[in-house]
């Protein structure tokens, strides 16, 4: 009882911000601390595989190695970049189109959304598993029908074909995340004020003109948000590719996160692995910053960042 009164009294005296301390402490311990530890480790030669490498300082050696001697890293980087661009653009176009159709022509949106949402609510590992089964060469259901339609050779499988595997992974990601884009864009469309569109109708604009001159500009902050969210998540992609292909065949689907995983937990080269991990983090950070600046600058603060209420 007296404890509560003390706390209550404290709050009343304007030290409420102290309530933030536990959260910040936790995050510092779990995230910020490890982050700096990672940065430190990236300058060392720590390895769990080689007993004599216990983390002695290496200066910039790891970074030099990354920049000059690791074509696999950069190959993976380029691959990941291509993956992100492919995935985000396809999902955006498809998702937006679906949202528009739903918004303008469909009555029972709730029901449809519930069904469409299933792919994105599944654990990404499970998604990987499901499609691994569907694309299995001998008895995969999708493989079978692809063969029937003539798109696939007898007895081959998409996931073991170095040329086809990446597009397949892209397609699976599109399957999983397009509903997310649809959901967000639909919410955006529904939140738009009705009047500017009616004003445009009265001004004589056709449906296409209204879309271009009123709807799209008003949706700009939300579009930026969706692209940012999907872009960053696509860059971090790990779970389902890990299960689907493990990065293979060869390195055909070895995204940055998978490569980093391999260095750290297969080769146990933790020093260099931290260097890779740090690079990945930097790239994501830069992407975020660039995007945030772009939206901030062009539109005023994005819809969500108004002070006082996200």
């Amino acid at each position: 009882m007296p404890m509560r009164r003390i706390l209550g009294g404290l709050l009343d005296r304007g030290v409420a911000p102290l309530l933030l301390i536990p959260s910040v402490v936790l995050l510092v311990f779990i995230l910020v601390g490890p982050f700096f530890y990672m940065v430190w480790t990236s300058f060392t030669d720590l390895s769990f595989a080689l007993p004599d490498r216990t983390g002695s300082f290496l200066g910039l050696d790891n970074y030099r190695r990354l920049m000059r001697d690791d074509p696999i890293f950069w190959g993976s980087f380029r691959l990941t970049l291509k993956f992100v661009i492919a995935v985000v653009s396809i999902e955006f176009v498809l998702g937006f189109a679906l949202a528009l159709l739903l918004f303008h022509f469909i009555e029972h949106r709730r029901l449809v959304l519930t069904a469409l949402m299933v792919p994105m609510m599944l654990a990404p590992v499970a998604v990987g598993l499901i499609w691994k089964l569907l694309l299995q060469g001998d008895f995969g259901m999708v493989s079978y029908y692809l063969r029937e339609v003539g798109l696939l050779d007898l007895r081959s499988a998409l996931l073991s074909n170095a040329g086809a595997v990446m597009p397949t992974v892209v397609a699976i990601d599109v399957w999983q995340w397009t509903p997310f884009v649809t959901l967000v864009m639909l919410a955006g469309l529904m939140s738009l004020p009705r009047e500017p569109t009616e004003a445009a109708i009265m001004d004589g604009a056709s449906a296409l003109q209204r879309f271009r001159d009123v709807t799209l500009p008003l949706l700009r902050p939300i579009i930026a948000l969706v692209l940012l969210l999907r872009g960053i998540d696509a860059f971090k992609e790990f779970d389902k590719v890990f299960i689907l292909t493990g990065g293979g065949p060869g390195t055909a689907t070895e995204l940055l996160s998978i490569y980093t995983y391999r260095v750290n937990f297969k080769s146990w080269d933790l020093g260099y692995g931290s260097t890779c991990a740090f690079m990945v983090y930097l790239v994501v950070l830069i992407l975020c910053a660039v995007f945030y600046k772009a939206v901030y600058w062009s539109e005023g603060r994005p819809t969500g960042a108004r002070a006082g209420a996200p």
Partner: protein, 272 residues
């Protein structure tokens, strides 16, 4: 003209729904198919179901503890994030202090950290403190994204409650703390529930942290899935059963928060 568009829209949406649901329906079916049916050359759509895979994998192969671990980890990480995040959200919603928005931005960035970058040092750190291979490690790891989710979502929900209600409650005799506990939190209860469910879902579905930080004892369901896929051969019926148990509860749960989903997934930038 609009009729043709409507027909087109319905056709496209129907196709979309089919594409979205069929893969999941397939894995559901597979979990009830005999080995023969599951591995048949030609896909089998009508079959006599068998329930053998579920007890086989959960009892004989002892996968039941994994279910328990998933429940444990998801529940506790949600609880932890709520316990710390809800008061923090209240502070952001109702109080002013220097560098407030910068601190808020800090919370946002924690959610954006790529797990692969963070898990490496986390693994090293936890090994040092000897909490690797315990559920605690995963719970703490999951709070990196759940905590910021709670702070973001709940700030919005609290901000929607007019300040006048706080003031009225305090005029009625509550202290600030009492007002928070007895008035504000109950009013924000629907948002709180939605946030909690979302945290649970994110934690339950998570893979990388759980995979790296735990070797055997504290494995969650998601981590159990790769274990059943071996180069020597995969018991698809059993894997499917695990996948179903790993996903079905979440699908049902997500129906509960459907209305608030957009808000949670977009940092509250778009109202659900």
């Amino acid at each position: 003209m609009s009729r043709a568009w409507t027909a087109f829209a319905v056709a496209v949406i129907l196709a979309g729904v089919l594409i979205a649901l069929t893969p999941y329906v397939w894995i559901l079916m597979t979990s009830f198919k005999t080995r023969l049916d599951a591995l048949a050359d030609t896909p089998v759509w009508l079959f006599t179901p068998t329930f053998e895979h579920y007890p086989d994998v959960f009892l004989e192969k002892n996968y039941l503890p994994l279910v328990w671990n998933s429940v444990l980890v998801a529940t506790l990480s949600t609880a932890l994030s709520l316990a710390l995040g809800v008061p923090a959200a209240y502070v952001f919603a109702r109080h002013e202090f220097p560098a407030k928005e910068d601190l808020f931005f800090f919370f946002l960035t924690t959610r954006m950290a790529p797990p692969i970058s963070v898990v490496v040092p986390m693994f090293l750190l936890f090994t040092t403190f000897r909490i690797t291979d315990t559920p605690l490690a995963v719970i703490l790891a999951h709070s990196t994204f759940n905590l910021s989710l709670v702070v973001w979502m709940m700030r919005g929900f609290f901000a929607e409650i007019p300040r006048e209600i706080d003031e009225a409650a305090m005029m009625d005799g509550h202290s600030r703390a009492g007002m928070f506990v007895r008035i504000l939190v109950p009013l924000a209860a629907p948002g709180l529930a939605a946030t909690a469910v979302l945290c649970f879902i994110l934690s339950w579905n998570e893979f990388l942290y759980a995979f790296v930080l735990v070797a055997f004892e504290g494995r969650t369901l998601t981590v159990g899935i790769p274990g059943l896929i071996t180069p020597h051969g995969t018991l698809w019926g059993q894997v499917a059963a695990v996948a179903v148990v790993a996903t079905l509860p979440i699908i049902l749960f997500s129906l509960l928060v459907q209305r608030h989903l957009v808000r949670g997934l977009t940092f509250g930038a778009v109202k659900g």
